[in-house]
């Protein structure tokens, strides 16, 4: 058999591209279908043979959707809970990371080990007593119940801890000679020089909190306190067969995070993967 490597390779290459493009499109079909369905009339949704594009683009579906639930309230609630969780987690995780990375104190190893061990605990194993504690504190049906327990994260501490370990000690020694206190060394030298790690933490908390469902479902009753995921689930419960409305709702709740992803795609992927890998 005569070999013709170059031609062979380019032919394979073309095949590879076709295959990858096809699978990428396949991955995105649910998104396209969601948007297209959200713009169809109800009868068109179930009409056979199925048409891919709507006969008339019914943008008024979104108007109906907008008027059928307090989406702005859900959005603002989600924004509030997400922002405060991010803030709390960045502060508590980076502080704890500094303590573990650079200070000596009694019981440090034991506490570190306990934190690591807590990563093995599934949320479901503690959700009942957590709920009881929250009720006893009088926090049931408040946003505090979602924010405060989520401020601790072993994952987050480890992520920032790794970032802090990578900062050269010489920087710190200089600051010490200059008489800097621990809070200043922490902030000026460690925190300010760990931006990729902190960004990774922010993004993973952002995605996690924005999309969270189980805890809001358990802790929050009042409709004026619902977050988007819960609002959407309850909305679907009410409008079960009106798939155009449900799809419009799905688009609406996904939109903010997808827009953010499109703007900062690289940071998202690298940040989320970074926070995933550093266990």
């Amino acid at each position: 058999m005569k070999k013709c490597p170059r031609k062979n390779i380019s032919w394979k290459r073309a095949l590879l591209y076709v295959f990858l493009v096809l699978t990428a499109v396949l991955m995105l079909i649910p998104f396209f279908w969601m948007v297209l369905s959200s713009l169809k009339s109800e009868s068109e949704l179930f009409a056979l043979p199925l048409k891919i594009f709507p006969e008339r683009w019914r943008f008024d579906n979104y108007l109906t959707l907008w008027n059928s639930a307090p989406w702005v309230t859900y959005f603002l609630n989600t924004l509030k809970v997400t922002a405060l969780t991010i803030l709390g987690q960045v502060v508590s995780c980076s502080m704890a990371a500094y303590g573990f990375a650079r200070l000596k104190f009694k019981g440090k190893n034991l506490i570190f080990l306990a934190f690591l061990g807590s990563m093995m605990i599934p949320y479901q194993a503690i959700m009942i007593p957590q709920f009881v504690i929250i009720s006893k504190l009088g926090w049931a049906d408040t946003h505090i119940s979602l924010i405060v327990p989520a401020i601790y994260s072993a994952f987050g501490i480890l992520l920032i801890y790794q970032a802090f370990l990578g900062i050269p000690r010489s920087l710190e020694e200089e600051a010490k000679i200059d008489g800097c206190s621990h809070p200043r060394i922490f902030y000026e030298i460690y925190f300010k020089n760990s931006k990729p790690g902190i960004l990774a933490l922010v993004l993973s908390v952002l995605v996690g909190t924005w999309n969270e469902f189980l805890r809001p479902l358990i802790y929050i009753n009042s409709e004026e306190l619902w977050v988007l995921s819960m609002g959407l689930a309850k909305f679907q419960g009410k409008y079960m067969t009106q798939w155009n409305q449900v799809m419009a709702g799905a688009v609406l709740t996904m939109l903010p995070i997808i827009l953010l992803f499109l703007v900062a795609q690289r940071q998202f992927i690298e940040g989320l993967v970074m926070s995933g890998i550093k266990e």
Binding site: L16, F19, L20, T23, A24, M27, P30, F31, W33, L45, L48, P49, V91, M95, A96, G99, F100, L103, K104, F105, I111, F115, S118, I121, P122, Y123, Q124, A125, I126, I128, P129, V132, I133, V148, I151, Y152, H182, F186, V207, W210, N211, F213, L214, S229, L232, A233, Q236, M247, A250, T253, M254, I257, I258, F261, Q265, F268, I269, V273, G276, E279
Partner: protein, 308 residues
Amino acid sequence: MANRNLILHSRKKSASQHNENLWGYFFIAPALIIFLVFYAVPIVMSLYYSLTRFDGISEPVFIGLLNYMKVFRNREFWLSLGNTFCFTAGTVIAGTIISLFFAVLLNKKIRGRGWFRAAFFLPYIVSYIAAAMVWQWMYQPDSGIINVALEAFGITPPLWLGSTTWAMIAVIVMSIWKTLGFNLIILLSGLQSISAELYEAAALDGATQVQSFFKLTVPLLKNTVLFVVLNSIITGLQAFDQIYIMTGGGPLKSTQTVVYLIYQNSFLYFKQGYASAMSYVLFAVIFAVGLILLRVTNRRNEGGVGSV
């Protein structure tokens, strides 16, 4: 004089050590307090509740191991545990193989790799709730796009979420779609840390692509694959959102997982003691799986060091 200096010095040192102790507690305080109140105390409370009859409102009544006996005697629990394992095995095995396959493809020198990465990753960042609704709509028996497409190819499609045999598969497929991008990127970054020279050397020695995949990629990528597997197992055992939306545990409890059963018993039927016992069993299962996996891979690692 020298002596006094020494004493002063050591006093100063112990004072600074004392100081550092305080700073240490200061810095870990926020995390530690929340950890204790919302994680450490609950894990102990949960154990206690599992030994009581408790409705979440009135005082718990101690009943010994009765809840655990009820759990182990309950056929629904075993059924749900089986479903949990089935879901986890499906997402872990198929999910890992598929993401590894695409990671290897994307590891080649490809133009527009960033676009492919983004397309695969997009499902990972949206909520399970919204994504599950989209899939639920796509899985509709008559007018869902999946069945319409299958019929176009002459295949008689199943009822998907309405069928006791296909509902679990439908949920698994959706979950793989959701997490594929994340696993793929982790595997891709693992692949990229393997030096290209190794492959070139292997190619010079006459190894085929398939051979170098199994002889080079697989052993060198082992830890990354292990991470993906462990991570998928832990998320698989805890899956809730997609089941809540897509099937509600049905039809005929064919997609009811342990986590869903715990949720129902604690927050719909208010059997908190009983539910706590189930969550402790689940906790034990997760813990055991983690230990076994670590043991297995450690042994393999030890074997590997000598032979390489």
